[in-house]
Subunit: 384 residues, 2 copies
């Protein structure tokens, strides 16, 4: 089977980017990826945009970005699966290359979140849930994840302090990531003293909306090997879905789509959770990272809170997680997030992360959730 | 090279479907396709949704549809490239199968257009064009295509009567398609007597918004051959892009993305325009069908108007086009349109179209345009 390799990655600053349009953000990340790949744009056969256009004023986003990148008349398509749109874009680019249709594909995750006001965003996001029986009664995203947290606490004795430990770690590493939105360390005490959002979740349990973009360039095995010696291979692409409504879920302490996507990705890459040296997981809320540890098999069911508090997800622990600060500290430009995760993993596997570097990382994983787990994409990356 | 075959197709009624939600429309088409394929839903590995979610109230559309189809926990992704979203979905499903990732993929194009008022739709559609220099001055879709028509008339002597001939043909065949929105024949005189929209385009030069859905199920060569003897093969997938702004186009009498996508698809399938027995083209306006004849090579540059008036695109002519009534008479649920085109071509190649049947059709083409030609997807289908 032909492998698909990552030959270039680029990333812009996440945050309130009122200085740039969405196509400018896309170009910033794309230009960095082209430079990193040391290729000419003429070698790029197609591009895929990961984004959720409804949060932005411009329509027909993929055409706008394609033209701004200077890639006309080459094909473009946009993938949208809520907050997992970036990973869906990577997945279809992988298919495009493996199918023999294209040799080199640029994947750009890009998103403006600050075109709209916070109430507008909350209203839109609420409608990502179940509109007939849930959001109509006021359920918003923090509310959903608060339910997960309540249940996790009830069943496994997970504590607020353990949730706060996730935020502390992600702020610690985010403070060391120049692309992150929040670059300041916090303490458990500070996290626990923050305002309530949806009990038991406090402000420091929640990630922040941000504008931003990231880019990865994928290529066939043959081309990738010619382009660089430190190719990172995308060897496993898992994806699964779950019900829109939490009422129809068998349990509330994990995401069934995540464990299924992980199963697929591990099988495809011939790896297990034990092989993962570094991971990026979808910490839209601290409880989401705790559930991810369990769904991905980094620890046993119900042990996620302790895993965080014991610093098993720090560098030096059993599976370092979100060393770029995660959604929590880096910010969450929803369409860009999945591509941003891939960016971090590729750089970790190349050994380029400086003080945030996991020594000798060879296998990396991304876990990107859409909605409240309606979608989950798990990708496994490896260096030779 | 492994081929990708169409093993099932389904289509619902297009029109004002206030009787059904978008997921119900999707299910209607999907159920028909599953029945046509004579497969169990368990055999479907993944699905792709072609849609433009911003026209609808529900967010996270692909998750809603996936659950309603009963396909959880299998993967789903949504593709969006304006009015070509359905063809982009087919293209990524083709990639998924050819890449070896999935064996059987259901593609559902589905769209509600009647959730919003006409002014809301016009405002959204205007923003599909260039927002900085064009839509801000009031340019809407009819305005763009009116410019194309004016220029085509100026350069080639194309007449209003020739444009009307396109509408007459599409209404003639639409009257014979039970899924079409408008099922009544018209005359050239009636078309020419209709109200002006954007000079020279009149009401009968414009397609109508509609709700609707269509589904095609694709499979690997091996599985397809086991499933049915009359497999229709998707042998060519071409796609290209062009500038958002008409100001940056080299010409206004054709769509450069269409001729480029056609070139790719013909080359891939080893066919030429002369081989095409039946085609579905994107007649959002009558001038768009005239330009498509030329861009696809059915006639020479500037000859499209005469091609229509000479009935070369009727059954019995050199290349019968839009025998389901086209967007003009069938209606245009934007995300569903590309899949609806594939539905018609597959049934033509299987010989199932009754009084609308092209005798012995063996090669069929779909031409699906996004925006004002920012995207074009050309697919070539063939039966053995």
């Amino acid at each position: 089977m032909r492998r698909v390799g990552v030959v270039g990655v680029g990333h812009g600053k996440f945050g309130n980017r009122s200085d740039a349009s969405v196509q400018e953000l896309a170009f910033e990340a794309y230009r960095a990826a082209v430079k990193d790949a040391k290729i000419s744009p003429e070698e790029i056969d197609a591009s895929v945009i990961g984004s959720v256009p409804e949060y932005m004023k411009q329509r027909s986003l993929s055409g706008v970005v394609q033209e701004y990148l200077g890639l006309n008349p080459r094909p473009v398509w946009l993938t949208e699966v809520a907050c997992a749109s970036g990973s869906a874009a990577i997945r279809t680019a992988w298919m495009a290359i493996r199918s023999g249709l294209h040799d080199v594909v640029a994947v750009v995750g890009c998103q403006k979140m600050t075109d709209l006001s916070t109430p507008e965003i909350l209203a839109l996001m609420g409608r990502v849930g179940e509109v007939q029986w849930e959001s109509v009664f006021g359920t918003t995203f923090p509310g959903y994840y608060a339910m997960f947290a309540q249940r996790h606490m009830h069943e496994f004795g997970t504590t607020r302090e353990q949730l706060a430990a996730v935020a502390v770690k992600n702020h610690y590493y985010g403070a060391r990531n120049p692309n992150a939105l929040f670059r300041k360390e916090i303490t458990v005490a500070k996290a626990l003293a923050s305002e309530p959002v949806a009990s038991p979740l406090l402000v420091y349990d929640c990630c922040a909306n941000a504008d931003g973009a990231a880019c990865v360039i994928l290529a066939t095995e043959e081309k990738a090997k010619k382009m660089r010696s430190d190719v990172v291979w995308l060897d496993g692409v898992g994806a699964a879905t779950a019900s829109m409504s939490v009422l129809r879920r068998p349990e509330l302490t994990g995401l069934p789509s995540a464990s299924e996507a992980a199963r697929q990705a591990y099988a495809m890459a011939g790896t297990t959770a034990k092989d993962v040296d570094v991971a990026e997981v979808h910490d839209c809320f601290t409880i989401a990272e705790v559930m991810a540890y369990e769904d991905l098999g980094f620890c046993g069911k119900g042990e996620g809170g302790r895993f965080a508090a014991d610093r098993q997800s720090w560098i030096g622990g059993s599976t370092p997680v979100n060393l770029d600060g995660g959604l929590k500290s880096k910010g969450h430009p929803i369409g860009a997030t999945g591509v941003s995760m891939a960016y971090e993993i590729v750089r970790q596997l190349r050994g380029e992360c400086g003080e945030r570097q996991v020594p000798n990382a060879a296998v990396g994983l991304t876990h990107n959730v859409g909605g409240i787990g309606q979608y989950c994409f798990v990708h496994l990356f490896r260096r030779d």
